[in-house]
Every structure is written in C-alpha cells, then in structure tokens.
Amino acid sequence: MSATAVREIEFRDALREAMSEEMRRDPKVFLLGEEVAEYDGAYKVSKGMLAEFGPRRIIDTPISENGFAGLGIGAAMMGLRPIVEFMSWSFSLVAADQILNNAPKMLYMSGGQFGCPIVFRGNDGAGGQLGSTHSWCVESLYANVPGLKMAIPSNPYDAKGLLKTAIRDADPVFFLESERMLSMKGEVPEEEYLIPFGQAAIRRTGEDCTIVSFGRPVHFAMEAAETLAAEDGIECEVIDGRTIRPLDLDTIVASVRKTNRCVVVDQSWSFASVGSEVAAQISEHCFDDLDNHVHRVHADDVPAPYASNLEQEMLPNPRKIRSAVLSACYRA
C-alpha cells in the first residue's frame, strides 16, 4: 500500500458516513427527526441520505420531540435500530420522559423482554450565541441515569468510529455532537473502523498534570497545555474521555498516578456533574497519589449568556484551564 495521506473530512461528513455505512449494512437502521430528509438536516449532517435511502428510511417528522423519541422507542422495542436526531439536545428536554423514563428503563422494567437499541443524537453545548434555552450541555443532567450510554466525540475520526459503535449497540446511546465542531476537518480513513465505548484517548502525554475532558473542551485543554508547556514549563497529559458512560476510569487513574495532579474540564455546570463524578472517582482511586485536590473547570453557574464575550467567559476556556493547572501544580 502506498503511503498516501489519509483523507480529511468534516465532522458532519464523518457522522453521515457512519450513519450511511450502517444503513447499508443493516436494513433495520433508519433516521428520523426534524428536517433530516428533504432539507438534508438542519446542519446538513444527513445531506444526500434521502436520495440514497429514500423516505422510508430517512423520515421528516413533525416538530414533536417527545413524539418521535417515543415512536423511535416503540420501533426499537420491535427490534429496529432507530437513529433519532434532535436538532439540538436542548430540545430533548421536552422529550425527557421518553428518553429518560422510558428508553433506559425498558429492558429493566420488562425483565429483559424489550431492549431499546436506539441512538439519540444532536448538537450539545453552547458557544454559538444561541441564548440560554438553546445552549444546553446535557451530559451531566442525563449521565446520571443508569441504562443509557453516552458518547461525546471531539473530532471527526472519533465521531465516525463512535457513532458506528452506537448504532450497533444493544442499548440506548445518547450521542452528543457540537454545532461548533461540525465544520471541523480531521483525518478519517476510507477503511471501516469502530471505536469501542469506554476507551479514552490520550491526546498529549506529559508528566506534570493530567487534564481530563470530554467533547469540545478537549480542544481548549490542548490549547492550554501548549501554552503551559511553552510559557510555564508544565507538561500536561490530556485525556479525551470519548464516552462518559461507560467511563474509562483505568486510563484516567493510570495517568493521575503518574502525574499526581489532575484538572477535570467539563462544559456543564459543576453541581452534581460529570466533572464532580470524575473528581470523586479520582479522589477515591488516587487518594495517596494526589499532590493536590482535583481541580475542576466548568461552565459558570449561570444560564448561558447571549452576548458573545459573556458566553466565552462563562464556558471553560484555555485561560481558565491554564490557571486551574497552575493552581493544581502550586504555581498560582
């Protein structure tokens, strides 16, 4: 094989490839949601899919999140594999009963009779000046519920590999994308691959401090790590969790045992969050290894502001992460 460069595609293309490949592979897979068919998706994720798969499998729904979430659950109970697109995870709040009270409990409450192999996917997180009601980071809110899995890719390669795994999974998967990353390009090989759940990726190695993050803030962590290396002489190890449930505790624990310091970056609010869970786990498993308490960087405890500068200030950003690392290393 010649050493040709791996092609680069956008995050949204990677998502589409994952769905299309799985739909070609398995006739039980279909996509439904608002605007997914004729309009090619509100964010063009499903571009061309209607043309390839037809209206039987690419379905435009009424504006009825609870409705199509519940309909998808019924179809999944019958053994189909629906992919339900929420234009934004913010709109999944009106479907809370179906996605939290039905999908993740169906198998349990039916004593194993009715599984629910369904993927809910869409844009999560703030950063696009969409105002507070459209800027939800749902990970902490939803990750609390047993019976669901949650994947949160930070780049096109992971987006594709994780989404394919999600579609083949036998349980409900909450798949969190980011509107801010849909146009991001990244290397995605032509050959098929899947990324198993529960395997974090080490994005950067370092000896001084571990930064654990999920989704879009992984990029802020990387930016902060470069600045810390260049200006502060601190080498960070950056871990991209890739899935929140299951959580790859082993990779995180091994890293913290090496660096003895840890900063967790989670774009949701801090109270009872993914970040607080990870911090608690590290405190338990690395109690004797830690030089300092686990530091956390979250969104500020306010609704996402509309004004651009305030929104950037509210979210985790490289500056906040750098100062947390400095503090964790007793340098601030």
Partner: protein, 374 residues
C-alpha cells in the same frame, strides 16, 4: 360573500347490547359466535373475581397498590378477542381482561402488583408490551411498533389502551398526529371512565365527546358503549381492518366506568356520588351479558354457581403461584440495566456497593499506589 361550511361531521355512537338487555341482532351478525360468547363471559367473571381477591390481598398486606378493573372488563377483552394473536396490545394498567385473553398468565399481573419487576416480563411472543404507568407514554410506543411493522412489510397492527385523563397528555396528541400523518396501523382505544383519579372528565376535555379529538388529526373516530362487548368488538374489528388494509389509524372512545376506586390507595367516595356509581352498576357489562346468555338459553343459575367456583379456584391458583415465586436474589438488582453490563456496573455488583459508579470496597491491586508509600 355568503359564509360557507368548511367542514361538517358527525360522531357515531355504537351500541349493540344495552343496559336494558336490548340486543341488535342485525348489528351483531357474525361478530361473536355463541361458544365464544360463553367463553368470554366466563373469562370476564374470572377477571372480576381476581379484582375482588386482589383488593383483599392488598388490604391484608399481601399486595402493593392495585388498580381494579371492575366495570371496564368488556373493553379490553373485546379488543383482544377480535385482534390477531400477533397484533400488539399496548396497555396502560386497566386491561387485565384483554391481557389474560391474549395469554398473559394471571400470576404475572399479580406478581407485578405485588411489587416484582418480573411480573412485567411478558414473553415477547404474546405481543403485549409492559404495563405503562407513566400516563400516556405507551401510545407513542404503539405508533412506533406500528411504524416498525409497516417498515418491515408485516401486516401487524398495534392497539393501545389509555384513559380519558391520558388524552390531555402531549404524548397522546403526538401519537395521534404521527399515526395519522405517517399512515400508521394503530387503533387508539380510549377507555373513558369519566374520572382520572378524582379529576372529572370536564377538566380534561370541553368537547361533548372525546371521540371528536380524532377529527382534528384527520383520523376516523367513533364512540361506542364500552360496557357492551359486541359494540367494542364491532368498532375494533372495523378499526383493525382499516389499519391492516389501508394502514390508517382509528380513534375509539369506549364509554365505560370504573366501579371500584382508582387504585387500592384511593377512596372514590370522597369525590363521586353514590347515585352515579349506582347508575353505572346497572350498566355493568357482566349483567347484560349474563342476561343475553340466559335469554339464549345458554346459561342458568347452576352454571353460574359452577362458574363462580371455577373462578375461585383459578384465582386462588394464580395467587398461590405468584406468592410461591421466590424473591429475586439481591445480585439480580443489576440485571437488565443494559443488554451487556459494563465493567463499572459489574464492579458494583461484585462489591455490592452501589453508592457510586465502579466504586470498590478497598483498593484493587491495579489501582494501589506504587510501592504502597504512605
């Protein structure tokens, strides 16, 4: 410009065997052969007896909260009777008669209300979904099941049951809208028993019938006497044909009444008049059916006495079986959380510590600090 009528319609009310014993043999033609009628009557009597026994079990602490079906047996039973065995029954919690007719063992439902998840593990081949306790959610699942059947090119349809109160939930409206607009083979069977716990129907809907709610969705809709086995059988049969042949949904309002409390945790005397209850006692589906059977010379008092003994034995046997099922092992608490349990849940199961994800009792070798320095 003269004002024209944009739309005009009527809602039909179907009644075949009424509370006075009037029977419309013409409308009933070909609906229920006499042999089946006897079997259905027996079945309803057993279900009624189960309600009485369940009530006593709850009062004596042998069962949790139980919703009596009393008075409403005809509706779900007639539906289950006319549907194919492979059509989905998508119930809420007042459909014992229909579920048992389909083949769900009585002890399952008892076990469930005794507080055991396994009672809801209805074997898939019976095509009944678990009892849905959050009001209204199951209607969307019915739409999804029907959608999946259509997707697969199967001639299966879904019949979902719910109360008058449930028609106020968003799920109801979303399910109706989906089913109508996506041409789904669903039968929406509303059991209007006039009460949602203590809330009267007027608070749920201001229109003269619930049936007409279907009109707004462009769906065929009809009202029937829900205490009349024949009427329900007729409208469900027609709805099923519409679903199977034209892939169109139907909304049926079956007018009925719960003769008991909402559940054993309720005391209906606090909010409804005895006169109203007495009126509906006279409209009991069992009484009129027994009358018809006697008129047809198919029934007499000695058969009735035999049947009551049979019902007692049946129910006692089911109670015995349900109570004989051993409590699940505490390790089973994790079963069916996921199709395959992830390592963190397995760890919780192993250590029996559920206070946090993947928590360990003591430090595992893999995570112990190097050299054990303290």
């Amino acid at each position: 410009m003269p004002i024209k009528t944009a739309f005009k319609t009527e809602i039909e009310h179907v009644s075949i065997l009424d509370e006075h014993g009037q029977f419309d043999a013409k409308l009933a033609e070909g609906l229920i052969p006499d042999d089946d009628l006897l079997a259905l009557y027996r079945h309803m009597t057993v279900c009624r007896h189960l309600d009485e026994v369940a009530f006593k079990l709850q009062r004596s602490g042998r069962m949790g909260t139980y919703p009596q079906n009393m008075g409403q047996e005809a509706t779900s039973l007639a539906a289950a009777y006319v549907l194919e065995k492979t059509d989905w029954l998508v119930p809420c919690y007042r459909e014992n008669a229909g579920l048992f007719w389909r083949g769900v063992p009585m002890e399952y439902v008892l076990l469930h209300w005794m507080g055991d998840e396994r009672g809801n593990a209805i074997p898939r081949e019976l095509f009944c979904t678990p009892l849905a306790i959050p009001i209204g959610t199951q209607m969307l699942h019915a739409a999804g099941l029907a959608w999946a059947a259509k997707y697969r090119g199967e001639k299966q349809i879904a019949c979902t049951f719910f109360g008058d109160g449930a028609t106020s939930e968003g799920d109801f409206h979303e399910a109706m809208n989906f089913a109508a607009n996506l041409d789904l083979p669903v039968v929406f069977l509303c059991q209007n028993n006039f009460w949602a716990i203590s809330v009267p129907g007027k608070i749920q809907c201001s229109a003269p019938t619930l049936a007409q709610r279907g009109l707004a969705y462009g769906m065929h809709c009809v009202q029937c006497d829900g205490n009349d086995l024949f009427a329900v059988a007729k409208v469900v049969k027609e709805a099923a044909a519409r679903a199977r042949e034209q892939s169109r949904p139907t909304f049926i309002e079956a007018v009925t009444y719960r003769l008991g409390d909402h559940t054993t945790a309720d005391d209906a005397r606090r909010y409804r008049d005895q006169a109203e209850v007495d009126l509906w006692k006279a409209r009991d589906p069992l009484i009129r059916l027994r009358g018809l059977l006697k008129e047809k010379k198919l029934w007499n008092d000695s058969k009735e006495a035999e049947l009551l003994e049979f019902a007692e034995r049946e129910v006692a046997g089911a109670v015995q079986r349900a109570e004989g099922i051993e409590a699940p092992a505490t390790t089973e608490v994790f079963d069916h959380t996921f199709a395959t349990l992830d390592p963190q849940i397995l760890k919780q199961r192993e250590t029996r510590r559920t206070s946090s994800l993947g928590q360990q009792s003591g430090r595992s070798a893999s995570h112990a600090p190097a050299g054990g320095s303290h």
